[in-house]
């Protein structure tokens, strides 16, 4: 068995250290080792975006990263988005505009939306659609998600 590798990374503001098998996917490390189960797994081929998190402020699919690659990184998951009990404006938008149904894609979708709004404060409808094109939602038809992100943009 390959040797375990020590890693230290910051997750939602807190420093975390662990020893991991090199093949441990970051998403499994977050979910299984850190208990951060808000990040979901929806595919094997880097398409669906359910596992989207922020790595050093940029959206990334945590199913296509080994935990060892994230050594030293600053990671934000859906659990770290709200502050002091206040929802993030994007979370608020999803609630206000009914941007979700089953909720499975939602954490990844929200992380992508946060990244999008970090890069572009007031995106057009088309820019929003492109900004979430790496995230699949099978329930909503996306229209309410677009509204949710518009809501957050208007707020922010």
């Amino acid at each position: 068995m390959a040797n375990k590798v020590p890693i230290t990374l910051k997750v939602n503001g807190a420093e975390r250290s662990a020893e991991v098998q090199p093949r441990t996917l970051l998403v499994h490390f977050l979910r299984e080792d850190l208990g951060l189960t808000g990040t979901h797994i929806g595919c094997d081929t880097t398409q669906c975006g359910a596992c989207t998190i922020l790595v050093d402020g940029k959206s990334a699919k945590s199913c296509t990263l080994f935990a060892v690659q994230a050594d030293g990184a600053d990671i934000t998951t859906i659990e770290g988005v709200a502050s002091d009990g206040d929802l993030h404006p994007v979370q608020e938008g999803f609630w206000e505009e009914h941007g979700l149904q089953c909720g499975y894609c939602t954490p990844g979708m929200i992380m992508s939306a946060i990244h999008l709004l970090n890069e572009n404060k007031s995106p057009s409808e088309q820019e929003i659609r492109e900004g979430i094109s790496g995230n699949f939602c099978r329930c909503t038809g996306y229209q309410h998600i677009v509204n949710a992100i518009k809501y957050a943009a208007n707020k922010g």
Partner: protein, 791 residues
């Protein structure tokens, strides 16, 4: 049942489910951890059809962390074939293949290991030898017994050889009288014929399937968590198959990440997890990979139709003949064989067609079985009928709206008994069509299309009208039972706990059901908790499918509420008027107080009545303490929501790529509890219907290898694939339930699909096209543009 004054009902209330979901705090099945839990991995067949010659598990068994490796033959000793939920004859279908594999992806062996990584490693280390058999792929060829027989007991691969229906069919005698149909065709001005395929689809709920099974020896109790649409059916079936008394099985659907029909089934993995947990006395988890989901979660649709439509030159359709061939894959799953019968049931569409002959054949092939996928049989029916009606319009050079109008069942004809045996509850189709045409500015839209065409663009507009059967349904139509269950408890504090057997997975029942109880009891929504998805908490239930949760589940809820409310009224009356026998039938529950209708000034607090009911001193004569009751509701009939969809589509002349420019819908789902949620359901349905028309298709090669085995090759729509959906509604309540609600979850998949193909045919009609099969593959369209229509 007492009338409820709508206050919350009809409001755009934001969902109560959302706070946990948007913060990553919801618990899906893969989020469940139990001390000592082991993990399952399935080794699946790489070939579509073959005899298992040998399985060598020794290398896998020897790997560190591996607890157990077990084959189908070994499992068979204590796990019988899986039950189905339809009355059709069915071959044995074991959870894990015993001596023969019949589709690529069928489980062949199972590993139990300490974690999922080790389980996967060990599953890969199992050596299996097969003797390959020819793969049965083409259903029409399969019907001749070629190139092989999938199940020996089913000659010519006929799972269901022949089901007739329509005009002149006597279901009791089983006889078919063709006189009327033959006459209609003989006297017709025209007959149009077309072969149409409603292609195979992968449901792809974003959460793949998963199960945790925990058998506790000593307690002899099995708890099973599964990503399911119907935990009560799961409980019943798992209990039966694992030989566990059903009062010792608790099934829990935790947060469920979408279903779209594919999570109605109880799958082999559920049974295996339960049986092995019982065998080992340890909790087990299995979580499906997306790759496994494509191979081994049910597929949808895959019905071929030969359509003949007859009519008069004034646009009246006088006869319809449809021969359906359903490619159901390798086995019967829980509702597999019943789904195409729903297609048959809906072949009238929204039209008063005097003579219809339908025939259905279901065929086994070496593919993943089909079963319910959003719409489940009805989108196929709507598609075939709407495509045929559009062909009539095109043939006669008439506006498709006019052809529909000419043939519609009229508002004064409801309830309307169709040729196919359905009784449509209520409707005013013209009103809905008119609104859709008005919203779309139909005449201007046609002119715009013509202007764009004059500029050299390839543009078409499509119109469709659908009706579906929802609110399933009386027990006669569902072998699992066609009712729904609910309980309502007014707690000592005056807050309400209600349960429902309609276990949601995105439908927002916690919100809509709270809205309903809020109006029923006159207390704030925040004082109401809706529990679901746990057979240990919700005593009975059927589940969420067939757009039934509001129409059937919602009605059960109100019924249970009514019983509690009646009792509460009597307690309230006892408090208000302790010395008199009073009529409690017209007491008013409002603003957190209860009063007599005639004396609104004289009222008692809701919570005071609740407290009194649990410490009833004095106990009114003839009454029991407490405020809790339950109800089962079985509808006398289904509901039949309907609507009109309009699309505008452009096709790139050079590449054949289709682009949707406009999508408009007017739906009539009867009474609406929460417009926000209904819009969400409609959007989602539209998206899946558009997905089917434009980009989705499961493809097997001639050897039965699944080519679309990942999101790399199976496209589902992204945000960039849609224009802004324009929605509107008409409201025609159903008389079938007191709410008047018809159901809305599947609507979008019925109308949008034929609508878009109609638009594509319209766009390509200058090239001589009369029909195009889905999906609208760019290459297919490009060939039409460059080579003209074929076939």
């Amino acid at each position: 049942m007492a009338i409820i004054t709508p206050k919350m009902i009809g409001e755009r209330v934001k969902r109560r489910e959302d706070p946990r979901l948007i913060q990553g705090r919801a618990t899906y099945v893969d989020d469940i951890k139990i001390a000592g839990m082991l993990h399952l991995a399935f080794r699946r067949s790489d070939i579509a059809h073959g005899i298992i010659k040998s399985i060598d598990v020794s290398a896998a068994q020897a790997m560190p962390g591996v607890e157990l490796v077990i084959t189908g033959a070994e499992l068979k000793e204590f796990l019988p074939p899986m039950p189905i939920g339809t009355p059709f004859p069915s071959p044995d279908h074991y959870s894990v293949a015993v001596d023969r594999v019949r589709y690529q992806g069928e489980p062949v062996a199972v590993v139990v290991a300490a974690d999922r990584y080790l389980a996967r490693d060990a599953a890969d280390a199992i050596e299996i030898e097969y003797e390959p058999l020819p793969a049965v792929i083409d259903p029409e060829r399969a019907m001749t017994g070629e190139p092989a027989i999938v199940h020996e007991a089913f000659a010519n691969n006929l799972a269901v050889p022949y089901v007739p229906g329509g005009t002149g069919f006597d279901p009791v005698a089983g006889t078919v009288d063709n006189t009327a149909v033959d006459k209609a065709f003989a006297e017709a001005d025209f007959v149009l014929s077309q072969r149409m395929l409603n292609q195979r689809l992968a449901p792809t709920a974003m959460e793949p399937r998963g199960v945790v099974a925990h058998y506790e020896p000593g307690k002899e109790h099995l708890t099973i968590w599964s990503s399911t649409q119907n935990p009560h059916i799961l409980k019943t079936f798992v209990a039966a198959l694992t030989g566990t008394p059903d009062n010792q099985v608790r099934a829990i659907a935790p947060e469920v990440g979408g279903g779209f029909g594919c999570k109605i089934n109880i799958y082999g993995e559920d049974y295996v997890a339960a049986a092995l947990s019982k065998k080992l006395g340890k909790p087990l988890k299995w979580i499906e990979d997306r790759s496994e989901a494509f191979q081994a979660t049910i597929h949808g649709r895959d019905i071929l139709a030969y359509v003949d439509i007859a009519g008069k030159n004034d646009g009246r359709v006088t006869g319809l003949k449809i021969k359906l061939i359903a490619d159901i894959g390798a086995y019967n799953m829980i509702l597999t064989a019943a789904i195409p019968t729903l297609t048959m049931l809906m072949l009238n569409g929204t039209y008063d067609i005097p003579a219809i002959r339908a025939e259905l054949t279901e065929v086994f092939t070496n593919k993943m079985p089909t079963d319910a996928y959003r719409g489940a049989g009805r989108p196929e029916g709507a598609y075939f009928v709407e495509r045929a009606m559009d062909m009539v319009a095109r043939h006669l050079n008439m506006d498709p709206a006019e052809v529909k109008r000419k043939n519609f069942i009229k508002a004064d004809q409801f309830p309307f008994a169709t040729q196919m045996g359905a009784v449509y509850d209520s409707g005013d189709y013209e009103k809905t069509l008119d609104l859709a045409l008005k919203n779309a500015k139909w005449e201007e839209l046609k002119a715009e299309r013509d202007r764009m065409r004059a500029d050299g663009r390839i543009v078409g507009i499509g119109l469709s009208f659908y009706v579906e059967v929802c609110g399933l349904g009386p027990s006669a139509s569902l072998p699992t039972g066609g009712w729904e269950y609910s309980s309502v408890t007014v707690e000592r504090s005056g807050k309400i706990t209600a349960t429902t057997g309609a276990s949601p997975h995105g439908q927002g029942n916690e919100t809509t059901f709270s809205q309903m109880l809020s109006d029923q009891f006159g207390i704030p929504m925040g004082d109401i908790t809706i529990l679901h998805g746990d057979t240990g908490v919700v005593k009975q239930g059927i589940g969420t499918f067939g757009s039934r949760s509001q129409a059937v589940g919602g009605t059960a809820l109100l019924k249970a509420g009514e019983k509690v409310k009646d009792k509460m009224a009597r307690f309230a009356a006892a408090l208000l008027n302790p010395n008199e026998e009073t009529d409690t039938s017209n007491m008013v529950f409002a603003e957190g107080r209860i009063s007599f209708k005639d004396a609104p000034g004289q009222s008692v607090g809701f919570s005071d009545v609740a407290a009194y009911a649990y410490v009833p001193v004095p106990l009114p004569a003839g009454m029991e303490p407490g405020l809790s009751d339950q109800a089962f509701f079985e509808p006398a009939n289904n509901t039949y929501p309907y609507g009109a969809h309009i699309a505008m589509l452009e096709i790139d002349r050079e590449t054949g790529e289709p682009r949707l420019l406009k999508m408009l819908a007017v739906d009539d789902a009867g009474t609406i509890i929460n417009p926000l949620i209904v819009e969400g359901q409609l959007h989602g349905g539209l998206a899946q219907g558009i997905g089917q028309a434009m980009i989705e298709e499961v493809v097997y090669d001639e050897d039965g290898q699944l080519i679309t085995g990942s999101f790399m090759d199976y496209a589902i729509p992204r945000a960039t694939d849609f224009p802004w959906f324009e929605l509107d509604k008409t409201v025609t309540p159903t008389p079938v339930n007191p709410l008047g609600a018809k159901g809305v979850g599947e609507a979008g998949t019925l109308g949008s699909t034929p609508c878009i193909v109609n638009a594509a045919v319209d766009a390509l009609s200058p090239f001589g096209v009369k029909h195009i099969d889905m999906m609208l593959r760019p290459e297919k369209l490009w060939r039409i543009i460059n080579e003209g229509a074929t076939g």
